[in-house]
Symmetry: C2
Subunit: 381 residues, 2 copies
């Protein structure tokens, strides 16, 4: 993203109606929208747009965290792949992961659901079963919603939570010298998508049959079509892609560690490559990440090996992982790791370091070469 280039394009075309959204992309669109609002006029808005979620003061109560995410059929999911239960689960996860990334604990969600009138009720039942399961697992209640008719299934969730600690964990707090860490391991979500594309090719015109078929069988059906050698690993990857869960427990533990521990945090939703560069920009720092320190899930490694794909590349670009990406002052790292271990939380992997090169993110390969990382996640426009 070249800022100056984007600005000149913006100026030149601002009244040209043939100039479409696809020309400025999602991030350009967001900047353009926010440029038109007077943000942060109210003292009650502690964090406005631009981070994982907004934070609102609540008098003497704990500040509130608010976020929204929309999943649209054809853009975010295909009915041949996403069973309705997984769809409901993932819609909740996308939102609760944003609450987690701010250091929040969920209170509840509202769900706006758009569905064609022809959709079987069983499908709606399964979708809300997924929503219910995700809430049971990560916390929060269904608080309300809206149900409307829509040609394409559209699930829009907004989630509200409380800060678990004394302050929100922002993207903008990283400082030179901090260590860059990630929870858990990466790669499965991307490998799950690769498997679905390879072994479950799109059947044109099969939307209704896909819906009916999901209403009959469960998510386990995928196993039968994955080659035997990687059936177990492949299924784990597909499950991670279809039904990821937020790191709610780890987030709340991290939120209670005190000053600059962590110094910044966000969730891995667009892919590590894109998310690292967003964190670097928000903090006005540089980041260097070592390829061979990025934790890759064993199932992703074995699946990638079987398919002849680079597991490291998959792990770096894999979106919707919903792991936490954070920076920690080096002096606090040992203590923090021990605390996480004692609490039985997923361990942190140290993958790199914060540098002074403002906004510039490098991936250091095992042979010492450096690649510049940019927004390389899924492009909406």
């Amino acid at each position: 993203m070249n800022k100056s280039g984007k600005s000149s394009v913006k100026g030149r075309h601002k009244t040209d109606i043939s100039y479409s959204v696809s020309r400025i992309g999602e991030f350009g669109l967001i900047e353009r929208i926010l440029g038109k609002f007077s943000i942060g006029n109210r003292r009650s808005v502690l964090v406005g747009p631009g981070d994982d979620a907004a934070v609102i003061a609540a008098g003497k109560g704990r500040p509130l965290v608010l976020t929204t995410d929309m999943l649209v059929e054809g853009t975010h999911f295909r009915l041949e792949w996403s069973c309705p239960e997984a769809l409901g689960f993932k819609a909740v996860t996308a939102n609760l992961s944003d609450i987690a990334a701010m250091g929040g604990a969920p209170v509840g969600i509202v769900v706006s659901l758009g569905v064609p009138a022809s959709v079987p009720i069983k499908v709606i039942d399964m979708l809300y079963l997924g929503i219910s399961n995700a809430l049971s697992r990560s916390g929060g209640e269904l608080l309300g919603g809206d149900t409307v008719r829509s040609e394409r299934i559209t699930v829009c969730v907004a989630a509200v939570g409380n800060l678990a600690g004394d302050r929100p964990l922002l993207r903008s707090g990283a400082r030179k010298g901090d260590k860059v860490c990630v929870t858990g391991s990466l790669g499965c979500a991307e490998m799950g998508l690769v498997l679905l594309k390879r072994y479950f090719p799109r059947q044109r015109g099969s939307r209704r049959s896909a819906i009916l078929s999901w209403a009959r069988r469960g998510i386990g059906d995928f196993q039968s079509r994955i080659p035997r050698e990687i059936r177990r690993d492949g299924y784990a990857c597909i499950l991670k892609h279809l039904m990821p869960a937020p790191r709610m427990r780890e987030a709340q533990l991290l939120a209670r560690q005190g000053v600059r521990t962590p110094s910044s945090m966000m969730d891995v939703s667009d892919g590590l490559s894109s998310d690292l560069s967003q964190l670097a920009r928000a903090s006005s720092v540089g980041i260097e990440v070592f390829e061979d320190r990025i934790p890759i899930h064993p199932s992703a490694v074995r699946t990638a090996g079987h398919l002849g794909i680079s597991a490291a590349r998959a792990a770096i670009s894999s979106g919707e992982e919903y792991e936490l990406l954070l920076t920690v002052p080096p002096s606090r790292l040992k203590n923090l790791s021990r605390t996480m271990k004692q609490a039985g939380a997923t361990p942190l992997a140290v993958i790199g370091e914060v540098t002074g090169a403002k906004g510039i993110t490098y991936l250091i390969h095992p042979d010492g070469r450096r690649s510049r990382l940019t927004h390389a996640g899924f492009k909406h426009f």
Copy 2:
């Protein structure tokens, strides 16, 4: 809606995948969804699903009000009629009116926007101009959002607010003997839609040209095609349909009046007929409303007269009016009306009375005949 009939249908078909959403309707679907959740387990959730908005405790701070509404192209609006500015404005109004109806004051909104990549940026600019104007008018800030690709323009807003008074104004507080009141006057929204249908017939295949055309001209263009005799009144009706505003000021004034004043409140979004019957059900009371006491906007009366339509019928079925419907103990009515007048707020019209006939709502015609009112608003499924 026959409750026992619906239950038997529910039982019989619950595993039949050919049984679609259109068979149980929107209200049946909502009941079915809520039946699957354990609602109200958390003490922090003061009001769960089923009212205009949810209410959440915020420690020692004022409780929070949360709601969501989704507008989908083809279901809620057509691009030939709704200019993007009006669409943004209306999406905010639908949500802030729910906040108002609970006796809340807005803090802010999050906006999930789905648009095709081919949409001109000018259209997005206009849409957010409408959002910005609605927020400037009624209060609240843009707190965040999500922008995604979608075949049909979809605007999903979630709004958060604080209670303005000590308690939420619920649908369920009406008691026998209370007076039924409505703010402002009704009918314009429905007459605006009738005019659009009559004088601006749908042009098939013109989606892109409709978008481009809106990007060029403004909402004032409608005036030129309305017959001269009703141009001014007709345009007022179309404006009310396209860009309604919530009764934010009146709601906050009402929320500060103390015990049972009002005893119940909701907004007129599905149409007075449907909303009265929802209020009666929620309060387990009956309602009798006098047709000749329902305040009809003069522009709606004149437009209906010109078109040979019953203005009273239009006023009773008119959805998306966003007026407030409330019940008040008779002993408090005089004081309340004086308070509203002194504050320069829109006056209340007393349109009827709460009876003991549980859940049954009657419209009393000028000749003394009685019609049963039911859910007769827009049917989503």
